[in-house]
């Protein structure tokens, strides 16, 4: 990226994070630019989910800086964090749906927290979001009243996606949004990520193991290796990287 580019919306500089003796990041840098889709690749347990949680302030770095819109996340108080999370939403790897709430309450959660929308408006928005993830009311008439325990794994994943897009955030962090979905639904989710980017210029950070989805949705790709992101490149350039580690990762997944 050249010096004339606009400043990044998310910027991590020299970030170190460990859990006890388990070092996850050391001197890690990465930037996310407004309106782009950045995909993060990396082996299991290397820290991809941790990167997203650092961005949204659920975890704090021991060293370095994590900035969103030029503001240091670790210095934010409760109120600024709340505001931040109105703009920045996260889809958790396991869905993290609220077991004690219906699908409607789950999808409408951020709306009840952040907005003054009426129940009817929330209902409309929930239906719209469920439609976007392929859980439209025409095929799933009783979906709104269901509880997470009564949904299939793939449905739970998609309800979680609907919950994260409901508030119309400017940035969405997706933690493995397509893992465990059937091919048509994988495609639908990648299309949705593209669609949100094109229509609403949503910025996305996508963590995935699924190389096809990665190539389909990303503008840039980053690969996590040894506590850093040594390779960050535009998608077409990323394909050309000759390094063994990257090749292995791409080829093994597509074979």
């Amino acid at each position: 990226m050249s010096a004339t580019d606009p400043p990044p919306i998310i910027s991590m500089r020299g970030v170190s994070k460990s859990f006890g003796a388990n070092v996850v990041y050391q001197g890690m840098d990465i930037d996310v630019y407004r309106g782009e889709t950045l995909t993060i690749l990396g082996g299991s347990g290397t820290g991809k989910s941790v990167a997203l949680k650092l961005m949204i302030g659920l975890l704090r770095a021991e060293e370095g800086s994590v900035q969103v819109n030029g503001e240091e996340v670790s210095e934010m108080g409760a109120e600024s964090l709340r505001k931040l999370r109105q703009d920045l939403s996260m889809v958790f790897q396991g869905g993290a749906l609220f077991d004690s709430m219906s699908v409607l309450e789950n999808v409408g959660y951020a709306l009840t927290e952040h907005t003054q929308m009426s129940d009817a408006e929330i209902l409309d928005r929930a239906e719209e979001c469920l439609e976007m993830v392929g859980l439209g009311l025409s095929e799933n008439p009783d979906i709104l009243e269901k509880f997470p325990a009564n949904l299939s794994g793939g449905m739970r994943k998609r309800v979680a996606l609907a919950r994260s897009i409901a508030i119309k955030p400017a940035v969405i962090l997706y933690d493995e949004p397509t893992t465990g979905l059937d091919p048509p639904n994988c495609d639908r989710i990648s299309m949705m990520i593209r669609h949100l980017q094109e229509q609403l210029s949503v910025t996305s950070v996508v963590v995935t193991h699924d190389i096809d989805t990665a190539f389909h949705v990303s503008d840039r790709m980053a690969m996590l290796h040894e506590h850093r992101f040594p390779w960050v490149a535009r998608t077409e350039d990323f394909r050309q990287i000759r390094d063994e580690v990257v090749r292995d990762f791409i080829v093994r997944r597509t074979r």
Binding site: L58, M90, F98, H114
Partner: protein, 258 residues
């Protein structure tokens, strides 16, 4: 020898860290309590569930403890031909001490483990992170209503337990010792002055608060994996029992001189 010392040092360190964390969570829960929205429905829902779920156990425990204690005292008093003072003898121990402490250890542990298990599995499945990431405060949403519920429900359950214990005592006194139930009732109540009720209720409130905050803290501190939930829950039982006994001792030294 140094190994042993280091182990003791390590455990002490863990203990202080744990108590510190517990206290901070308590402060945060009280701090967020008055913030809007108040969450009346969360509060009443938690209080009702915690209270109603504990009713059968509280009833059974109190009834039987009342019967057992009166029977034991009755045997002892009968040897001195003093069984007419059965009501006087048993009321203090039950109202001031046994019912609050016993219900705190049993019903309180049950409440606390329920909270640990629920919040622990929410923690493990990232639901607590999800609440935070959707813009709400997990302490306000989860900890405060549960802490409130336990603190309010425990004295109510103890009050109920006192009635049950009294009924149990009346039954035994009449059926086993031929001391009429009505007479037992009168002497029982006659022995009690307001400070005895107050000390019982204060104790119950403190025990309820202890159970609530430990239950929530243990849930929030649950590590990875479903087996972690089991571990946290077991620790909760131990922690609540020990904390209740220590608090009971402290409160007894406070109230007895009065």
């Amino acid at each position: 020898m140094t190994g042993l010392l280091r182990r003791i040092g390590g455990s002490l360190n863990d203990f202080f860290r744990w108590s510190g964390g517990l206290f901070i969570l308590f402060l945060r829960a009280v701090w967020v309590a008055p913030q809007r929205p108040i969450g009346v429905s969360d509060l009443s829902h938690q209080t009702l569930t915690v209270g109603i779920r504990s009713m059968p156990m509280a009833t059974l425990m109190s009834l039987f403890v009342g019967m057992i204690l009166v029977w034991q005292f009755g045997e002892a008093l009968a040897d001195f031909g003093a069984k007419q003072s059965l009501g006087y003898a048993s009321s203090l121990a039950l109202v001031r001490e046994l019912i609050p402490a016993l219900l705190a250890v049993t019903v309180g542990s049950k409440m606390a483990t329920g909270m640990t298990a629920e919040l622990g599995s929410m923690k493990v499945t990232e639901q607590i992170d999800a609440i935070a990431s959707l813009g709400a405060d997990p302490v306000k949403k989860l900890v405060w209503p549960r802490f409130f519920a336990a603190t309010l429900a425990m004295p109510l359950l103890v009050a109920w337990g006192n009635i049950m214990a009294l009924l149990g005592g009346m039954f035994i006194s009449d059926a086993v010792f031929d001391v009429p139930a009505g007479y037992f009732y009168e002497t029982y109540i006659d022995e009690l002055i307001p400070i005895h009720y107050i000390s019982g209720i204060v104790k119950a409130t403190v025990f309820g608060a202890i159970a609530g905050i430990i239950g929530c803290y243990q849930g929030f501190m649950t590590k990875f994996g479903t087996e972690a939930v089991g571990l946290a829950t077991t620790e909760t039982v131990v922690a609540v029992s020990i904390a209740v006994v220590i608090a009971d001792f402290a409160l007894t030294t406070l109230f007895l001189p009065i």
